[in-house]
């Protein structure tokens, strides 16, 4: 199994930390992982993205020109990365702020109302974990047990009291994800 993915959105949406929790969960499953962020002025300009690779084998390139999965959280990222999803791959997006939805017909498209649901849950900061939950529903490559261990590893101890809330958000994300197109 090799999963090559890009998570892209605005800085502050928890893009990098979602990637980190994914990578840590991968380690808990004894897999090889690579987490490669955009850094520097690119980030300060407002967009942030991270490439995460989880594999049973040694990982080759951390820089990719096509992805199995793209998790897209703003319009700029959709414009940039929709075309880089492999045919038959997965595109998961939050429609909040998206005026031009994806148009590809050769990929699986899923939608998650993450922003809206996070507000309904009374905590906008769990937004990324809702999206993460939707991803796990669509691509069940990691067990929830290991995700919980991943959360414990990647969050500083002072935030461990928030793990149940994060798990709740993940479950919520699993529930609300909508399939728009399957190929």
């Amino acid at each position: 199994m090799t999963e090559e993915m890009i998570i892209a959105g605005f800085g502050g949406q928890g893009v990098l930390s979602m990637g980190k929790i994914l990578a840590y969960s991968g380690i808990m499953e004894d897999k090889e992982v690579t987490w490669f962020p955009s850094y520097g002025p690119e980030m300060r300009g407002g967009t942030a993205n991270v490439t995460v690779i989880i594999s049973d084998n040694r990982i080759s390139s951390p820089i990719l020109h096509e992805f199995d999965t793209a998790i897209i959280l703003n319009q700029q990222s959709l414009n940039k990365f929709e075309k880089m999803v492999k045919p038959g791959g997965v595109l998961l997006y939050d429609p909040n702020g998206i005026s031009k939805p994806p148009t590809r017909t050769d990929i699986n498209i899923y939608k998650v109302e993450g922003t809206k649901t996070a507000v309904e849950m009374g905590n906008p900061r769990v937004f990324n974990m809702i999206v993460f939950g939707s991803y796990l529903k669509v691509r069940p490559i990691l067990s929830l047990d290991n995700v919980e261990k991943g959360l414990q590893k990647s969050l500083p101890e002072r935030y461990h009291r928030l793990i149940p809330l994060n798990l709740e958000a993940i479950k919520k994300g699993e529930e609300i994800v909508e399939s728009i197109q399957t190929v």
Binding site: Y24, I27, V33, P37, S60, H65
Partner: protein, 364 residues
């Protein structure tokens, strides 16, 4: 098995320094390697192992602090990124001339000048040809994963002390910024004063007993006959490195018609290119030099005898390609050597490399 963690390459460099028994880190911040010193400051190893961590007033000061600590037989190191390494080259030349061991880490960014903070391999020549003035060489290790960022710190110190010569880890911004699973090394205690005296007392300034002459640390020698003899000794040392320290990795080279040569981040990209090319029926292999000096000349010569062509893939305008050509020439072969690369902080994609390989060698 050591401790498994998910860490950035830069953080790992710091952790590995503490764990290998490093005595002192002297540095000055610069993107994309500032996390090295940040991690050290956070870890406060002075409480744990007694290791000194000091932010100097400049790169020039930090390399000269390394020079001083190394003269006392201590494991001393610094890290920086391209423009900062340029500032250090005078000191590095002095350290090489004074025959002192130390570790210098270059987490390269794009140049020339202040350039960009994005990853690059444009300091290849600077690293492998010495860098500063005078006939000297550094032992240059090129990690290609976060795990190797861990492993090469201890290895670099070991080699530096074996040859009494500065060693360099030549990484780049991508390796510094990315996180991977890493198995951290076990702790090695720092050498005690007595151990340093016993191991390196023949040259280090550990306190002169009445029984021997003074150990003088200097790169200055105004008597040209002696200075030439010094140079001959240095050259013999570099020759020995070429005989004993060459390290490389071969991936799918056995039946390869074409060989990609790439180090560091580029080699990771090219591993994927090999997979893609093979899936398309092209027999391509990858030679990954791990030591850049000494360069793996012999294996290049051996591969040249049985392949149709080489493609050097570098994040620069084509520097290592010259060493590949020299190695093939020295081996008495005549095989085409092409170059593909991106510059200024752009990282080539695996697909681009395959396209370039096809364009250059496999026109249909």
């Amino acid at each position: 098995m050591g401790e498994l963690r998910l860490m950035k390459g830069n953080e790992v460099l710091a952790e590995a320094a503490i764990r290998c028994g490093c005595d002192g880190y002297f540095g000055y911040p610069i993107t994309p390697q500032s996390e090295v010193m940040e991690t050290l400051m956070q870890r406060q190893p002075w409480d744990e192992t007694g290791m000194v961590v000091l932010q100097a007033e400049s790169e020039v000061a930090s390399i000269n602090m390394v020079y001083g600590a190394a003269a006392a037989g201590k494991k001393a190191m610094t890290s920086s990124s391209s423009p900062g390494i340029s500032l250090m080259t005078e000191g590095i030349s002095y350290i090489a001339g004074a025959e002192l061991p130390c570790l210098i880490i270059n987490v390269q960014r794009g140049g020339p000048g202040l350039g960009t903070i994005q990853p690059s391999q444009a300091d290849y020549f600077q690293a492998v040809k010495g860098g500063g003035h005078g006939d000297y060489k550094l032992l240059v290790l090129a990690p290609a994963s976060v795990q190797e960022m861990n492993d090469f710190v201890d290895l670099a110190f070991e080699l530096a002390f074996k040859y009494r010569n500065p060693a360099m880890i030549l990484a780049d911004g991508a390796l510094g910024q990315m996180m991977e699973k890493v198995e951290l090394s076990d702790y090695k205690p720092r050498w005690t004063k007595e151990e340093i005296h016993e191991k390196w007392g023949s040259w280090a300034t550990t306190g002169k007993p009445a029984s021997r002459k003074k150990n003088i640390i200097t790169s200055l020698e105004l008597d040209s006959d002696i200075m030439e003899a010094n140079n001959r000794r240095f050259q013999a040392k570099y020759k020995q490195m070429e005989q004993e320290e060459v390290r490389y990795e071969l991936i799918e080279c056995d039946d390869a018609d074409y060989i990609i040569v790439a180090f560091g981040t580029s080699s990771r990209i090219c591993q994927k290119s090999v997979e893609i090319a093979r899936a398309q029926g092209l027999k391509v292999g990858l030679l990954r030099p791990i030591t850049l000096f000494p360069f793996p000349k012999k294996i290049v010569g051996e591969l040249a005898a049985k392949t149709k062509g080489f493609l050097s893939v570098e994040m620069n305008a084509g520097q290592m390609v010259e060493d590949i050509k020299l190695a093939i020439y020295d081996a008495g072969h005549h095989v085409p050597v092409e170059y593909f690369g991106r510059m200024g902080g752009i990282i080539p994609t695996p697909g681009e490399v395959v396209d370039s390989l096809k364009n250059k060698f496999h026109k249909e």
